[in-house]
Symmetry: D2
């Protein structure tokens, strides 16, 4: 059972609720979000129902939770959502291209990649300043210096910035530079980080854990939503299987499955799923055809020199083909406008 408090609830309202739960032999877990307080009850739910919490002061609503996730479910909001990143839409009416370098290396490389991305129709710039790497001896990203480069490139190009945050302590700092916070595949169940981005006041791009079920993914989104942030975009990026021809196996079925369960937009990252440049174009086409709200691709002006994931980065010619494909498919599929023609005033 979940009790959502009213915006003007007082601390003593909260305490009164907790006391009533404890006196009934239950336990009360208080989650303090940015915009509201939620009290989760654990114990004998049938007994709780007799206690009339709805009539207590400061209570906004009382919900008996049966599903494992609720705020992100389709039942909760009957139509599909559009998330805006500084005015750039990601949602059912558009096809959004997010592109940029896997890792920010230098101002020149980042600007050059951003120009390439923009020329190909990208309306959001991706780039990693904090890179979670399997080996402690691999390049871990430039940190705050990388964020500053991204912000400068945004000023230069006008492209809002999507970048990964890897620890709860960094969220506030990353949010000062970024327009959208990315949670990477390895952190999909880093619950403290999910809660921190839920309170950061910025849209969130939540990648699927490489071995997470779709249900676990939606529960991870619920962790963000529970803190009062529903501006969440899901991103499928491949799951771990026995097949070794690709780095991971893109679970393209996840898109329609998620769309049957949740109102959140869902994108596909064809670069990380395959780990191979030659697969990015066909998988991007498949992504749009299956109904994804956009794709997220790696680009690099000089992939052979990339410090991270060079073999999967697109170069300029690929990008032109990608743009044309997305335009054509968007037309056929009744998504009249790619997002690069539909940016609303921020």
């Amino acid at each position: 059972m979940v009790i959502v408090l009213a915006a003007d609830a007082t601390e003593s309202d909260v305490e009164a609720i907790v006391d009533r739960v404890v006196n009934a032999g239950g336990e009360a877990f208080v989650s303090r979000g940015v915009s509201r307080v939620i009290v989760g009850l654990v114990g004998d739910v049938d007994r709780f129902e007799t206690l009339n919490f709805g009539a207590m002061p400061g209570v906004h609503s009382v919900t008996r939770i049966s599903a494992k996730y609720k705020l992100v479910s389709l039942e909760h909001r009957q139509e599909r959502s559009t998330v805006y990143v500084r005015g750039v839409p990601i949602g059912p009416d558009t096809v959004t291209l997010i592109a940029g370098p896997c890792a920010v290396e230098t101002p020149e490389q980042t600007l050059e990649a951003a120009r390439m991305a923009q020329a190909a129709g990208a309306t959001l710039l991706r780039g990693g300043a904090f890179k979670p790497r399997s080996s402690p001896y691999a390049f871990q990203g430039l940190g705050e210096l990388g964020l500053r480069i991204l912000a400068d490139v945004r000023d230069e190009t006008g492209l809002p910035v999507v970048t990964e945050v890897v620890s709860a302590q960094d969220v506030e700092m990353v949010a000062r530079y970024a327009d959208m916070l990315q949670i990477g595949t390895r952190n999909m169940q880093n619950f403290g980080l999910l809660q921190a981005v839920g309170e950061a006041g910025k849209p969130v791009l939540l990648k699927r854990g490489m071995s997470a079920s779709i249900e676990e993914w939606l529960m991870a989104a619920e962790y963000v939503a529970q803190r009062g942030n529903l501006d969440i975009v899901l991103c499928e990026r491949g799951i771990r299987t026995f097949e070794t021809a690709t780095r991971n196996t893109l679970d393209i079925s996840a898109v329609p499955v998620v769309q049957g369960l949740s109102h959140l937009p869902v994108m596909i990252d064809p670069s990380h799923s395959g780990g191979r440049r030659d697969l990015v174009l066909p998988l991007s086409r498949a992504a749009i055809a299956v109904g994804a709200d956009g794709v997220l691709v790696d680009v690099h002006p000089h992939p052979e020199q990339a410090l991270c994931d060079g073999p999967q980065a697109l170069v300029a010619d690929d990008l032109r083909i990608l743009q044309r494909s997305l335009e054509d498919l968007a037309g056929v599929l009744g998504r009249g406008v790619p997002s690069w023609r539909s940016r609303r005033a921020a």
Copy 2:
């Protein structure tokens, strides 16, 4: 090392080769295909190279095999192949729709499903008379009676028939009725069956094993090819992973991966991969967009009464949407013609 004999090689030519191999301390394995004899050599290949097999009577070619598969590889035939099933093309210029009931149950149900399929643009009829089922207590198919029903429906509708064969003993009988022999996922490494269909003189639809790597799948195709039959169409139908929201996980990346390795056409079966009707349309669109040469779908006039896999069968309305989607996508992707407009005189 593989020695391919000339069409007019004699038995004593073969024996001479075997003797030379054995005298050199090696072993010789003789494969007798319909149209030719192949001798595989196991042992010291460097030594074999000194023995000048190419000059022996009856020898057509001597190849040092490094790849695990050869005849089906892209190197072997530099352009992508088209396979014709009674004149219906499956290949790079078309989008082919194969549709029909998972299992043949009655003449009426089969004819009705075929009419639905045909109305939606299907140019080949699928239907199972032999059903490999996990449980011995599940419906196993009508056997030869089912084949007769399929043949009758072909006469009625003009649709060539694709049907599964599950044991080597049945190949000859099934081939009398069918226009294309299907190898199901559980038999992808039933090597005796692969060899038998390789000699049956009919095109083969080879489904990927649900836990087979792409490399193993191509080696399975090589078993068929080695018997002299290169009319092979590959079909991805989902692999086994931890995800339970879908019956299997469609490995859509397999299509471009295979196209980089093999000249064989490759299709997708979106019905069996997901096991859910609501996924068939989006996955079919994704299949065509990723570059597959066609899709294979279950249809049933009354899915709620189906003896096998009812929950995934399309009904009439779905089929009309599917047809329109495939037409539109074929246009955008430069496959000018769906196969239902390009049937050549058989």
Copy 3:
């Protein structure tokens, strides 16, 4: 619903049953085993229950099947079974060691491997004459010549022979030489083969499919049992996962899981699961400790020359350690006697 006929049931008894089913709108599938006829009914089971099949001539029993497998289930036979292979027990009171070369190559190699196995306490000899290989260019086994070698070595050493059969056509021939028929991992769902070995009158060693669930494995065993043969030993040999340090991942939990569901003996093959010699000893110890009824290991006098799976074959020193380990563990675990001390008169 399943109707088992009496041993003296006539053909017209069968027909009468089928007619009654069909008249009730159902379908009847007749399975003719060696020792009995079984009729499986598909349709409206509630209706069938009103038809009083139990009173019809020739009917032995009528069972409403709810489980997907029945004859091999623990409910069906309340205590764990022992299977005898020419007098050698595999079951709950013993620890049985089956050893031998992966592939039979020559009489000398086979005899030498058998002597090694016997010296280490093996009471059954394994060896492959038919090898299902992923690549058509790999060594496929010596065929009937290999079987003859195995039979000769049995005469020499007294060790009964376990060998794989890969196609239904070969079952009768292989059964003439072998004492136990092995179904390999790739054929676990080759249902025609399962039925053929079910009728061959020899004990069966049924390896788990490398991507088969435990439930599917037991249903495969049920295919054998349904033909009247309950002398089935299950063998776990590793499943396919994302981990690449081992060839497959030994699912050791499968042993106690199976023992909670089925009365059949269950063994472990630590050679094929890991594909590495250094893992065979520790995994064999784990196998016995977890409660397996025995282990199946590859041995080879000269692994570096083996035509198949040399890297996993044990050599003489390993075998002595293995024997001591199994003896010690059998004692601790209350399996008083390894099978090499308990062979009963055949």
Copy 4:
């Protein structure tokens, strides 16, 4: 290439190294651990070798890294390590039993579970105060209150405490109460957390990620080691596969595989891998037989009331059998003493 600085290296020594790297066109990443500074070099390693870093002031050693992990590798320390937790050994000479409740719920439940554990031979108490749960609506643990309960129970029983920490911010606080810090499966690649526990001055229990390869697991351990903490115990707890009969699939082969690659002790958690009480005893026996240095099991005085993972908790009778099994197996396997007889003075 990795440069480890001497303990007395100055900041200007570090700067000089970084300058030399940058001037050579490379990049230098400075990691500041508690006890030492490490500089990782990315770029042209052959060029770096000519720069003679070893002769620069403040440099302790220069290593060309080929492996992806080094400090935890077997090459780095030729014999297997023993880690002491307040004097309790985990290592090659002992069999250590860590037991306790999955989640700390109340002082009474925790004390009762600890008494049960101790009676069964456990020498370390496990218990969760911070529980990473897939759903935000599930019980998340008592937090610091739970840690206080654990500390009180340690005072009462003398059992050192092993408990999970889930975020880098909490490490210092958790380390004040705990004797060993556990990293759970979902956090195995939470690199900030790994680094934080690497600096906390307490032994670390590092569970394998449920979809992590063994190589990734060792690289995660390297993250901890790199911060100067080599008191790491690895714990296999099951990986994610297609099999649904068990919650995860225990990868028992991981134990000998790890022992061939790393000097770190390795344990097994049979409770979480299977998620079923009936599997804990056989899997514990298998764990010891395969060579693990101990097992980690859930116990609960009243599993039916447990707030977390009740179905897998052992009760008192199970524990007595477990103790006897471990004693017997330790004897057979030449681990003379279970850890409950070998605690050294702390």
